[in-house]
């Protein structure tokens, strides 16, 4: 089987390359300062602990959190699991079983949706809110779903597939008024959108290092200490690390890498966001100038910088991906494309099956430039035209003038 190295990486919503400065900062902690930060009796441990605490402060600074509020995890999936299981179980127990209801959204990441399914098996009642045609959750829908039994609301900040940004501050306030805790997965938005846990008013926030040019294998759950403090209990049991919330020896090198990546992201955020937005707009303009019948999935404005999700009506997404070996792209989310089902996010928007199957996600990042975007657009245009020429769906659309 051929192994193709794509020339242009446009899948930054899946993962980002680790910044060379991050790699350099991590290096001493593999072979020189290799101590266990929990070792209190020697300098190896003290140096490792000091490095981890600097990283904790750097991650906290990215989102306006106190360093003591940062709980390192293996990634955003674990942070989501810790928030969903840890908070729901603790809140149910604390309320004497009265709060046994969890609210989330149909277009959430699988880490949250599958956790909701598992909570249902534990006896929780789960409500999944719908979204509008742009993917937004409405305040009224949340208000209607909340009741005195709601323990936790989990709504992501920016969607990984279609880039829609939810009005988290408004939604979190509504949840707080009903006495429910609020969790948000901010893995996509951290580093490209302003993110302040005080302004958002959330109790828990999930972060991931590898989405912001840091190493894979580490993330964090921000656990707010504000009053009234939302209860949460661990899902991993052991040595009582991370204030008892996440046992396990801290992976010092990647903690350091996460910290430096967070620091760099905080400093570069506005420039990165402007760069990504400019290139995404350029790409969409190039494509829509040359190709009729494109549909932008997600909102035209207020979306994640650099995310572009487009339906090329009449062309199947897997075929278009295979026709573009020069480009690293995905059809919907990386997990969904392996399963070959229309994306659950696009279905939640009310997109018909044709539109959902015809969609590709472009994720623009720091390494991309105008020349790459123009080359990518040329490849995509040529292949969409070629595949439409042999598509019965496109033939029907063209003849009837219908739109999916």
């Amino acid at each position: 089987m051929p192994r193709v190295t794509p020339a242009i990486y446009l899948d930054h919503n899946a993962t980002t390359p680790c910044d060379a400065r991050v790699v350099a900062a991590m290096l001493p902690y593999w072979t020189e300062d290799y101590g266990n930060p929990a070792s209190r009796t020697h300098a190896f441990g003290w140096r490792a602990e000091a490095a981890v605490e600097i990283a904790r402060a750097q991650v906290g600074a990215l989102v306006g959190a106190d360093p003591r509020e940062i709980v390192f995890t293996s990634g955003a999936t674990e942070a989501d699991n810790l928030a969903l299981f840890g908070a729901s179980r603790a809140l149910r127990r604390e309320s004497g079983g009265k709060r046994d209801h969890v609210i989330s959204v149909r277009s959430e990441h699988r880490a949250v949706l599958d956790s909701c399914l598992a909570l249902e098996r534990e006896g929780f009642r789960v409500t999944l809110l719908g979204v509008d045609g742009d993917g937004r959750v409405s305040a009224d829908a949340l208000r209607a779903a909340l009741d005195e039994r709601t323990a936790l609301v989990s709504i992501m900040h920016a969607n990984n597939e279609i880039g829609v940004v939810q009005p988290i501050a408004v939604l979190a306030r509504i949840a707080a008024e009903a006495g429910a805790a609020f969790h948000s997965d901010a893995a996509q938005s951290a580093g490209v959108l302003p993110l302040d846990v005080n302004a958002l008013g959330v109790d828990f926030l999930s972060l991931s290092a590898h989405k912001l040019y840091g190493p894979k294998g580490i993330g964090a759950l921000v656990v707010r200490r504000h009053a009234p403090r939302a209860r949460i209990e661990p899902i991993l049991h052991g040595g009582g690390h991370e204030r008892g919330l996440r046992s396990g020896t801290l992976p010092v090198p990647i903690c350091v890498g996460f910290g430096v990546a967070a620091e760099l992201a905080r400093l570069a955020r506005d420039a990165d966001a402007a760069h990504h937005t400019r290139l995404a707009e350029r790409l969409f303009a190039r494509l829509s100038d040359a190709l009729p019948a494109l549909v932008l999935n997600g909102p035209a404005n207020d979306r994640l910088p650099g995310n572009l999700n487009v339906a090329f009506l009449g062309v199947e997404g897997e075929a278009l991906l295979a026709a573009l070996p020069e480009l690293a792209l995905s059809a919907g989310s990386a997990c969904t494309s392996a399963k070959r089902e229309p994306s659950h996010v696009l279905k939640a928007l009310g997109a018909g099956e044709q539109r959902a199957l015809s969609s590709l996600r472009f994720g623009i990042g720091r390494g991309n430039d105008e020349a790459q975007i123009d080359a990518a657009a040329e490849h995509v245009i040529a292949q969409v035209q070629r595949l439409r020429a042999l598509s019965p769906v496109w033939d029907d659309l063209r003849r009837t003038g219908a739109r999916a």
Partner: protein, 126 residues
């Protein structure tokens, strides 16, 4: 590593017989088949000559590279074949020709089902 065989990619990149035929002629028919989930479809056009052989065959396909490659490979077999010979082509043979995995193999049936669908519209010779 690509999930598609070299044979699939060769047909996908240079499909054989892509396009449509005019079906206003009674000896030219159109058939269509979709996979169980309904997302992939193959549309086949064949024109049958007086000698009961398939004079021309064209396809349109919406689907992954395998669906497109299966339609392309099937059309290559159909052109010039008698109707009986075309009907004798089976999905397993087409799947082997395209080196499909077990999970991919069901898509090889699409052009063959489209052929049967089309032949059902063929008027008996007067």
């Amino acid at each position: 590593v690509s999930e598609y065989s070299e044979a699939v990619l060769a047909h996908f990149r240079n499909p054989h017989g892509a396009g449509r035929l005019q079906t206003d002629d009674a000896r030219c028919v159109r058939g269509e088949a979709r996979d169980a989930a309904g997302g992939q479809r193959v549309r086949l056009f064949i024109s049958v000559g007086d000698d009961a052989r398939i004079a021309r065959a064209r396809f349109q396909a919406f689907g992954c590279p395998i669906a497109i490659a299966a339609a392309s490979a099937a059309v290559a077999h159909f052109e010039g074949a008698s109707i009986d010979e075309a009907l004798a082509l089976d999905a397993a043979a087409l799947a082997r020709e395209l080196a499909l995995t077990d999970a991919q193999a069901p898509l090889a049936a699409l052009p063959l089902r489209a052929l049967r669908d089309g032949l059902a519209y063929l008027r008996p010779r007067p």
